[in-house]
């Protein structure tokens, strides 16, 4: 007895979806310049869903992309069938997703099984158990999909300390390009190691930033001269940090240009001098991927 119906069904569904949507633009090429024909926003049942979606929609406003929203009632842990089908039937789409921590773990497993290309995964937290109440940690495939610089500019507008870290799986292809990010109030540094890290500090010294991030030794750090720096602009603002995250995640998903630093990881750290703004505890995980 040999049974392989499930695979057969999967194949039929996937080929059906392809016929319906047409072949995705990046299916035969592996270029970082892939642009999606349409985007899907998956709200996975996190408390942050609605506010995140406001920000994501703001980033999409005025663009040619069609942003389809899918809401997962009851969350992913109540059942995985709907997400599995969504992944099968949305071939060719770029997916932006927001989940709670628990659902994100299972979601990533479904994503791998579905053969999805994962562009970034961000863990976002606002909590009182840290000296930096707002924290964002991104694992990003390449500099092309980074969102940290834009989020730093959004976050600096609000009261309160924050930290943003980004690690890039793909090394910069052109290490000769000395580009670096800058913004008023930030001082920028580069580690001298082969896989360079950049730290951008505001309101604190490099040594404090390094200590906070548990980032390497004290030696080998050099300031990044302003002439190699580029600035990003903030075309839209929100007072709500979750909404800002929704905006920058969607902006990165839509390939909005950001300053692409020549580094394998980077961090933005800001210490507020005017006290912390009390905000409710909130946690969620964001994803950007090509299905």
């Amino acid at each position: 007895m040999e049974i392989d119906r499930r695979s057969l069904m999967k194949g039929m569904l996937a080929s059906g979806a392809l016929l319906a949507l047409g072949p995705p633009p990046w299916i035969f090429a592996d270029s970082p310049a892939r642009r999606p024909k349409h985007c899907v926003l998956l709200l996975g049942g996190a408390d942050a869903d609605d506010v995140f979606a406001y920000g994501a929609r703001a980033a999409c406003a005025g663009r040619t992309y069609d942003l389809q929203t899918v809401t997962l009632k009851g969350g992913l842990l109540a059942g995985t069938d709907r997400v599995s089908k969504l992944l099968e039937q949305s071939r060719g789409a770029r997916l932006i997703a927001v989940m709670d921590d628990a659902s994100s773990v299972v979601f990533l497993e479904l994503v791998r099984t579905a053969g999805v290309r994962l562009l970034s995964m961000g863990t976002h937290a606002c909590s009182s158990d840290s000296s930096y109440p707002l924290r964002h940690a991104w694992a990003t495939t390449s500099l092309a999909h980074s969102a940290g610089g834009l989020l730093a500019l959004h976050s600096i507008q609000r009261q309160g300390s924050f930290s943003i870290t980004e690690s890039f799986l793909q090394e910069p292809l052109d290490v000769r390009a000395p580009a670096s990010w800058s913004a008023p109030g930030f001082s920028s540094y580069r580690s001298g190691e082969a896989d360079a890290m950049h730290i951008h500090c505001s309101g604190l010294a490099l040594s404090d930033g390094r200590e906070l991030l548990d980032a390497g030794t004290a030696e080998g750090w050099t300031p990044i001269p302003p002439q190699v720096c580029e600035q990003e602009t903030v075309p839209w603002r929100s007072d709500r940090w979750v909404e800002s995250v929704g905006y920058v995640v969607a902006a990165s998903a839509l390939d909005v240009d950001s300053v692409r630093e020549s580094c394998s990881s980077r961090a933005f750290v800001h210490r507020s001098r005017t006290g912390e703004r009390v905000q409710p505890a909130e946690r969620f995980v964001s994803f950007v991927m090509d299905i």
């Binding site: 007895m1 040999e2 049974i3 392989d4 499930r6 695979s7 592996d30 992913l76 842990l77 109540a78 995985t80 921590d101 628990a102 994100s104 773990v105 299972v106 990533l108 497993e109 479904l110 994503v111 791998r112 099984t113 053969g115 999805v116 290309r117 994962l118 562009l119 995964m121 863990t123 976002h124 937290a125 909590s127 009182s128 158990d129 840290s130 924290r135 964002h136 940690a137 694992a139 495939t141 390449s142 930290s163 870290t165 690690s167 799986l169 793909q170 090394e171 910069p172 292809l173 052109d174 290490v175 906070l212 991030l213 548990d214 980032a215 505890a281 946690r283 995980v285 991927m289 090509d290």
Partner: protein, 516 residues
Amino acid sequence: MASRYIALPKGVSEKAFDAAVEDFRQVLGEDNVLTSADQLAPYTKTMMPVAESDHTASAAILATTVEQIQKIVGICNKYKVPVWTISTGKNLGYGSAAPAERGQVVLDLHRMNRILEVDGDLCYALVEPGVTYRQLYDYFQEHKLALWLSVPAPSAIAGPTGNTLDRGVGYTPYGEHFMNACGMEVVLANGEVLRTAMGALPKSNTWQVFKWGYGPYLDGIFTQSNYGIVTKFGFWLQPAPPVYKPFQIQYQNEGDIVEIVEIIRPLRIGGVIPNSVVIAHALYEAALKAKRSDYVSGPGSISDEAVSQLIRDHKMGLWNVYAALYGTAEQVDVNWKIVTEAFGKSGKAKFLTEQDVGDDPQFGYRAALMRGGMDLREFTLYNWRGGGGSLWFAPVSQARGSETLKQMSLAKRILAKHGLDYSGEFIVGMRDMHHILDVLYDRTEPAMTKAAYQCFDELVTEFSALGYGSYRTNTAFMDKVADTYGPVQRSINRTLKKALDPNGILAPGKSGIRIR
């Protein structure tokens, strides 16, 4: 010039790896050899407090046949490229799908997912490694087979081959999964295919019914090891009982666990309670009902007072005992009387059955798992602290009440020292207990991430010094745990490795086993 790969195997040049990748593509086809960063990112994410760059794969390759795997090991031997095999890769909190060492090639067998045989009379199945529990569950429903699975917490998305090979457990009477394994097919590092025990006879029909065969019993050396690639796996299934009665017993004080275990042991060994009994601390299940931030502000572990408040607010036990009775109505009635009398003597126990709890999620997911149902809600515990950090610590002890308090107080002390909560449960097998702790931490917080690493290291050190060995561990601590079992065991494991895999191409580092 940056490499075209996100990582390279240790000691392998880019040129040699190019050639290996090209050979993999010849065997598997272009689409089944993944080397780009966005394809490999889902294979890289772990929940461990170490840099993900330590566990970054150089490539992932997807095989669907035994013949392909035989060719793959040939290529790996030729270029000395190590492969890290996963079946479904759902080893959450133990390393997920990421390889043990940077640069290893992930051999992903999730598409090798045929259910080869299910025998409803003899109650067994033979499957390929990518078959998930959900596939089998659906198959039983579709074919109206009165068979039950035994599943671990990732249930639907995980599969029997990987879980059993890592010696995972479930919650039904068949919950000790390796005990219910029967027959394997294994591709060895030299490309030969071994069928264990009765499977070695070409015309045998007893491969899935008699484990031992003739001569040394070999199946065990292919679990928690790297001596071969299991491509077919047989295991036994539980016939669906006419009556199933799950129940919960709540206790309100930490010290009550001594009484609980002393009552359970004779019921387990005597067969009155046939499944592994779970004794879950309130914090293991709290996230189903509450947020940590409602009870804790600021750094440090949660206080005992806050835990007391939590269990009052949500009508939880501090200890929550879960077990079930299976059989005919008469058998279940008799055993229920024995259970209630045994637990009722002291007056501390509060019994809850399905009729008492309605749709309570805490009871609901346990009841589903104890019948081999598909339910992922146990992972809600990842919302308790949040931040994506999880390390399972799994020391084994005797099933004695005195062991529980000793282990719990030691664990609580070490966790509190590092500012972390005790989220644990004891699972009473027959004569043993698995003490399962999830060291939950926030990966957005570098200081807490560092503390989690130190905490886990200290847990392994202190528990093993008292004779409590871990039955399983994550890929960042495999060498450390292997060391606790002593140099002779490590040496024998290495001797076997050199004999069976002289180039060390199969999952080097798994359980601390390498050729040198």
